[in-house]
């Protein structure tokens, strides 16, 4: 059973890697300009409302930004260029999601670090507080042996 553990683990990792690669390499479905515009509007914060994206809001400011997005895409700008256009004016505040993906990994990293720290702490605590049984020294064993022989005699 134990001999099978490593091949099974390797096979599982390879299978998972294959699935991830397939997902990443799968050609994306063609996206229309209107869908691109909706996508960008969904990523931008409505400037004069709370907790709404530009796509969701009905304010005049949000409508103006939606028009600007459509106009820029029609002019041939890429999604990244349009996003950068608004960041250059409003700052990162305008983005509903953080621009660096590292932020998404921080909670997972903190969890792993916390579990690791806890495991280390528990192992150390058990090592220190557990009963320490030392083998008797050789001379003590010899002495005990002599005393037992004397008692038997």
């Amino acid at each position: 059973m134990r001999r099978l553990a490593l091949p099974v683990a390797v096979a599982a990792v390879l299978a998972l890697g294959g699935l991830v690669a397939l997902e990443l390499l799968r050609p994306a479905a063609p996206v229309t300009q209107a869908e691109e515009a909706r996508g960008i509007a969904g990523e931008l914060r409505c400037p004069d409302c709370q907790a709404l994206s530009v796509a969701e809001s009905q304010t005049a400011s949000a409508a103006a930004i939606r028009r600007e997005i459509v106009g820029q895409l029609a002019a041939g700008r890429t999604i990244d260029q349009v996003r950068a256009y608004f960041v250059a004016r409003y700052g990162d505040w305008i983005l509903l999601a953080p621009s660096t993906p590292l932020v998404w990994w921080l909670p997972a990293l903190a969890l792993v670090a916390g579990v690791g720290l806890l495991a280390w702490w528990l192992r150390r605590g058990r090592g220190e507080s557990g009963p320490s049984v030392q083998a008797p020294a050789r001379d003590i064993r010899a002495q005990i042996g002599e005393e037992v022989e004397q008692l038997d005699a």
């Binding site: 304010t59 103006a64 600007e68 004016r89 505040w93």
Partner: protein, 182 residues
């Protein structure tokens, strides 16, 4: 006890402040941050151009502001009480520094009737107000809502942005930054 054990214990106790002190500092400084303060990426950069029809039927171009410090004030008639509160400060500013300071207002999602009614009620102004009908100027300045004011130096560079109603304290600080003695 092995000689490495005291060192490990010392490291363990050192690890706590190393982790906790920066975390506490981060949280503590966050508590003191004003969530209404939004840093503008325009600060330190040339002011975006402003051009268009004005409330009195004329036209305006920000080229007219070059050569002297200026303020760009985004306002609206529905912005109550903030725009009402700051209006006397703007009138006083124009009266005291009108010759050495360029001033321009920009309407934010407002109607002509609404804006004219506001000025009739709270005081006519001597500086132009650009209509900004398509909100293009609001987007160029990254405006989140009226009132907002941008302070521009004589070279045409944005020096500061203030979100919310102007007060005398704000004006004293920001005018000095663009070379106007309060």
């Amino acid at each position: 006890m092995a000689p490495g054990v005291p060192r490990m214990r010392l490291l363990r106790w050192l690890a706590l402040p190393v982790v906790l002190v920066p975390l506490a500092w981060l949280l503590f400084t966050g508590l003191g941050t004003d969530p209404r303060v939004l840093p503008s990426p325009l600060v330190g950069k040339p002011m975006p151009a402003i051009a268009g029809m004005t409330l009195d039927g004329g036209t305006f171009s920000s080229a007219a502001l070059l050569g002297k410090p200026a303020i760009v004030n985004f306002w609206a008639s529905y912005c109550i009480p903030s725009c009402v509160d700051e209006h006397p400060f703007l009138l006083d500013l124009a009266a005291r520094h009108g010759s050495e300071l360029g001033m321009v207002g920009v309407l934010v999602n407002d109607t002509l009737d609404g804006a004219r009614g506001f000025l009739d009620r709270y005081g006519q102004v001597s500086w132009p107000t650009v209509l900004n009908a398509d909100s293009g100027i609001s987007i160029d300045y990254g405006v989140t809502g009226p009132p907002e004011t941008f302070f521009v130096d004589a070279r045409g560079f944005v020096v500061a942005r203030h979100v919310g109603p102007l007060t005398q304290a704000v004006l004293d600080d920001e005018l000095a930054a663009i070379g106007i003695a309060p």
